[in-house]
């Protein structure tokens, strides 16, 4: 099927200056394409170029095969409807009269709204949950109501292509989903949709494909999991994020965890970590987001720290629920710890099942940081954990009492390790 909207080597901008170059992609009938990217990257400019509000400086932009530049505004408005970022400044029109303006491209100069037009207007107001506002004056309504009325106005145009510029910025949670569900259902009826999103989760959830606009380019739209992987988020938004599949919605869910600028440390090394029972989650997160390579030992499925390791993509050895760190596992963990720049033991309690991790760390031969004190309240291995602890302390392990101190200690260890000739 041919494309509804087609950019081909398009260069768009203002006053002769290009904001985006070499934009080439199609939006097909029934397809919902999302545009994401940092502020000021040119997402709105790209949308506005379709209706001539931004200049096309090269290439071509066509709707249903026709060059948009050659279309009369009226002809274009029958095919393309826009929901702008900010609802227009409203005058004292009634909400219904405001939505009726969407019928303008379909009415002749001597023609008034007919029964068919009235039916369309009633329908879109019903769908956008604005029918009850019909008699209200738009200049007395809230931003959210006005935004939904603007969506209704655009739908009243009965377009083949719907351009949405962050259409939900003023909406509450319920209405966000309502408007996007509505747009989604229109797409399923065959309308092509190109929408700017600031909320990446919603983009991933509603769009079939997502194009990333950054550095004066728009990427080829890809399905959300590929378009919005952690690498793209790091590169485009400068954000360390965890990207996983949301178990409830089934869509890609993005959890931005920290700004890159806030977390960079001088050198990214590798740390072996002994953790479990949630004692290591905090430190693991900080180190992982700082770009430090980690191995967190053998962990049981169902363990909190293992879930965190999974989400952060941190190396670990899988154990079945209630399984023990047997000799083979211990060997593997020791090998991993041995290749680290340093090891750290979190404030995890130890029993027979996980003692192997602790032993591996103490025998790895790397600088060791121990968090907290060891005593009967942590040692459920009949004194074996305490013995290992004391031996490590005697061998020069560093003792700290908080995650913060441990982080600083590891950071300086990594610095030392990185010094040439050390």
């Amino acid at each position: 099927m041919s494309a509804t909207l087609s950019f081909s080597a398009a260069r768009v901008g203002y006053s002769g200056r290009a904001v985006l170059s070499d934009v080439t992609f199609d939006v097909r009938p029934g397809e919902f394409v999302g545009l994401v990217g940092p502020n000021g990257a040119g997402k709105s400019t790209l949308l506005r170029s379709v209706t001539g509000a931004a200049e096309k400086l090269g290439g071509s932009i066509s709707v249903l095969g026709a060059d948009v530049e050659r279309m009369a505004p009226r002809q274009r408005a029958r095919l393309v409807a826009v929901v702008p970022q900010n609802p227009p400044i409203a005058f004292a029109f009634s909400a219904r009269a405001f939505v009726e303006m969407g019928r303008h491209p379909w009415l002749g100069r001597f023609q008034d709204l007919g029964p068919d037009d009235d039916a369309v207007v009633s329908d879109v107001m019903e769908l956008t949950d604005t029918a009850r506002l019909a008699a209200e004056r738009v200049d007395t309504l809230s931003g959210g109501d006005l935004q939904r009325l603007t969506v209704a106005q655009a739908l009243a145009q009965q377009p083949r292509l719907l351009l949405l510029d962050e259409p939900i910025s003023h909406l509450d949670l319920n209405h966000r989903l309502q408007v996007l569900d509505l747009v989604r259902s229109r797409a399923e009826e065959g309308i092509a949709v190109l929408a700017v999103f600031h909320d990446l989760d919603l983009a991933a959830r509603y769009a079939d494909r997502v194009a990333v606009v950054a550095d004066a380019r728009a990427s080829e739209p890809l399905p959300p999991p590929q378009a919005l992987d952690a690498g793209v988020l790091d590169r485009v938004f400068g954000v360390r994020a965890v990207v996983r599949t949301d178990p409830v919605t089934g869509a890609v869910a993005i959890t931005p965890v920290a700004r890159r600028a806030d977390i960079d440390i001088p050198r990214r090394g590798r740390i072996g970590m002994v953790c479990g029972s949630g004692a290591g989650a905090g430190l693991m997160r900080r180190l992982a987001l700082a770009g430090v390579g980690l191995h967190v030992g053998a962990l049981n499925r169902g363990d909190v720290d293992r879930a965190v390791a999974e989400a952060l993509g941190v190396d670990h050895l899988d154990l079945p629920p209630f399984g023990e760190v047997d000799e083979a596992a211990e060997r593997a963990v020791r090998a991993a710890y041995s290749s680290a720049d340093a090891c750290v033991v979190c404030a995890t309690p130890f029993g027979r099942a996980n003692l192997g991790n602790l032993r591996a760390a103490t025998e790895a031969g790397r600088p060791l940081v121990l968090i907290g004190d060891m005593g009967p309240e942590r040692d459920y291995a009949g004194g074996e954990a305490t013995r290992l602890w004391e031996r490590a302390t005697d061998a020069g392990a560093l003792r700290v009492h908080s995650d913060d101190d441990a982080f600083e200690a590891l950071r300086s260890l990594l610095d030392d390790e990185g010094t040439p000739g050390d």
């Binding site: 509000a53 004292a92 001597f110 008699a135």
Partner: protein, 341 residues
Amino acid sequence: MHATATSATRRRLTLVGLAVTLVAVVIAGIAFGAVPVSVADILGAIQRALGGAERSAADALIVDLRLPRVLLAGLVGASLALAGVLYQALFKNPLADPYILGVSSGAGLGATLALVAVGTAYAGRAFGVPAGAFTGALLTIALVVRLASRGGRVEPTSLLLAGVAISYTLAAVTSFIMVVFRSSMASVVFWMMGGLTSASWEYVGVVGGMLALGALVPLLYARELDIMLLGDERAGQLGVNVERFKLVVLASASLVVAGAVSVSGLIGFVGLMTPHMTRLVLGPDHRLLVPASALAGAIVMVAADLVARIVLAPVEIPVGIVTAVLGGPFFVWLLVRGERR
């Protein structure tokens, strides 16, 4: 008020009400004056004139003096109000009107130049002057819009400043021409102050014709006028050919202003006040606002002219003085209200 049927009824009632008021004011305008006449005299005189009978002196006073004068006042008022509606919608600026934008001065200068060129001969006076006024009005609005544009956008404040500045400059040029050609310009001085003393049936025809032409556009473009209030970009998205719309509207506004100015000189504030009051009462729907403003403008102008004729009777004051006395404070009130918002 939400059902379409109700608003259509309301619209009809409003217009009928305004039309009835206008008829009443017109009758009052004919009846009062240095020599009062009765309603029966008026109706009889009109009847006799339509019948083609020889006119008595009393009938001539009504048919050849008062009636064209009152009708001309109404047409001028309607023209100025119509232009005000158009400028206010186009510039989304409640303070825009032909006087403040300098269009009236531009039309005045054009008319004066035409008068100097063609003299006071009948044909020149009836057609050359309106043509000159139209040219002057068009050139002026083009210049003012250009001066007020910043990167394709017309700044509301710059628009008013440019309008007032151009208005004064053109008025000064007009005065200079009057001084240079003072022998033939004695009547022009009074005309430029805003007066209807030279009313005649020919003028009624010229101004009426220009108003009819100029009113066609806003009636046909009423929906576009509404949509333009949402801003140029949004109007374009909704299918309005914004550039063509602006040209057409500016041309028709200039046409009606030229018609008004070429017979009555510079009359301020009618184009500002009446659309405003009408909008306050009736809302922004231009299908109602355009005809209602024109009717209201006619009412205000006929009433103002009546006041101008009788307040110092038998001496007549220029009607522009009456409208300015009413309109100046109104303008200040708008400014103050705008700042409080």
